[in-house]
Assembly symmetry: C2
Homo-oligomer: 302 residues x 2
């Protein structure tokens, strides 16, 4: 690999620690440092032994870094952004892994330096678990990573970051930040919002006990609980920072749900059948594209 | 096992063929027959060699059956119900596997005979695949099966059917049909309706291509496509036949979604955080109850 000699990852949770593991697995000679504001997380990261140094403060490592990867919740990125930019060495690259991009770009714009390559990024990968212990090196294999560099960013710097993600097993797509946010509102943000909502609705039904919900969850509900177990702080930030995209897609979803509700109320089986038949196809496309397993029920056991 | 000497399954799809496989796996001496209206399905069933006889017509087997299991889509049960009841021998048991119960009870009431034990049932198990080839013997292991006998049904007959499901690896719960429909609207029917809706919404977004949806589906969307790949006819029937339960839960869901939408619009991070924190718990309950795998991401591969 050796695209960057010295890498600093700020935020050692599921994504940050997975990036660290994946980089070290590909090239053990890279100097890699992880910073996490939580002393508890730092303790875990030290035990995991996946970095050349772990600290609660980035001051110790930032001047040496060729690449800085922000992997904190988005609200924390806003908080520490200016200090990180100020501390970096000239010619280094700054990227992130946040699930929203336009708000990140706007946040960093006021204090961004001309001598830093700022290339926002988003690996479309994760699990419902969070924290450093939940990470693993293979997380990015066969997944897509989106980079949203502005037009004036150095092409070689983009090419280097692209190569890093490819080395970790990902395919890389370039698009502008606004487009990223609309696409991800559809394929990620609104699905999460809906899962969180449905799980809450089920918990609040007076006529259905929690025990009922747990016992009979294999009817479909349990699928939603996985997503609704995702990191609350991270998702709060995503919804607030991609407000426009999320609200647009949610409104479309509510319109469509209302149309199906109406079809149910009026015994319009034809409309239901037509709708349900067209959605089957896309599952096959996703499996064929290597973006999900072809085993029934996700290949779940027991 | 040998609770029933002679069993007839009407409908040889995912559930019917899985029941057949599971029964034969437990006790090969049971005489087991499968009827399916589709000659194509009958061909597959014969090749699979999981029954002692396969036919397109139930006339050939119904008189001999100690137990008749209806495993067709609910609308087909309505269509053939009277003929099946008329053809059965005295003292035999009639059950079904439909995901709705009150409508089934009401359908059979007018022509139900006193000398037949009618015990509606619903195994909470399945995958997104359909058809005889999709079935497997282990489908019901560790899952719940709900029986909704009316109060005047023979206790021994209920005990026998309970024992059959237990022999197939399930736990059995008894409840009344109305309660079943509300509980399942929450844990199964509305989750399916929402998944079908969201997948449709994503396919219809003008600003997001089908290719985008497929490539970036690992952000959460792909989970919904699994459920939305389920049998369209079966689910059309379920929604229309549990109209009351489904509309009640959908309305609650839309209320809750609107409240979260409002929180997003007004930057109310506290409300979001509170909501997202409480939903994490129930995933743990479901995993602890053996109703889902504890592996991250359902233990998906690749």
């Amino acid at each position: 690999m050796a695209i960057y000699d010295n890498i600093l990852i700020i935020g050692g949770g599921l994504i940050g620690s997975s990036v660290a593991r994946a980089i070290k697995a590909k090239d053990a000679t890279v100097k890699l440092f992880i910073v996490d504001v939580s002393s508890n997380a730092c303790g875990v990261l030290r035990t995991l032994d996946i970095a050349d140094g772990v600290s609660e403060k980035y001051d110790d490592f930032i001047e040496a870094a060729d690449l800085v990867i922000l992997a904190t919740p988005p609200s924390v990125m806003k908080h520490i952004g200016e200090g990180v930019v100020t501390g970096m060495k000239a010619g280094a690259t700054l990227t992130d892994v946040a699930s929203i991009k336009l708000d990140i770009v706007r946040t960093f714009e006021p204090y961004m330096r001309d001598d830093i390559h700022f290339i926002p990024g988003h690996p479309i990968a994760g699990t419902e678990n969070s924290g450093p212990a939940a990470g693993f090196a293979e997380l990015f294999e066969e997944r897509w990573c989106i980079l949203t560099p502005s037009e004036n960013v150095d092409e070689d710097a983009v090419e280097n970051l692209k190569s890093l993600w490819e080395a970790l097993g990902s395919q890389v797509a370039l698009m502008d930040a606004r487009r990223h946010d609309v696409v991800l509102a559809t394929t990620s943000h609104v699905p999460h919002l809906i899962a969180y909502t449905l799980v809450g609705t089920a918990m609040d039904m007076e006529t259905v006990t929690r025990n009922d919900v747990v016992k009979y969850s294999a009817g479909g509900f349990r699928d939603f609980t996985r997503i609704a177990a995702s990191d609350p702080q991270m998702w709060r930030d995503v919804f607030l920072q991609n407000k426009e995209g999320v609200l647009e897609v949610v409104d479309r979803f509510i319109e469509d749900l209302s149309a199906l509700k109406r079809a149910i109320r009026w015994d319009d089986g034809e409309t239901l059948m037509k709708h349900f038949s067209k959605t089957r196809d896309i599952r096959r496309n996703i499996v064929d594209a290597g973006q999900d397993t072809d085993k029934p029920d996700f290949g779940r056991e027991g």
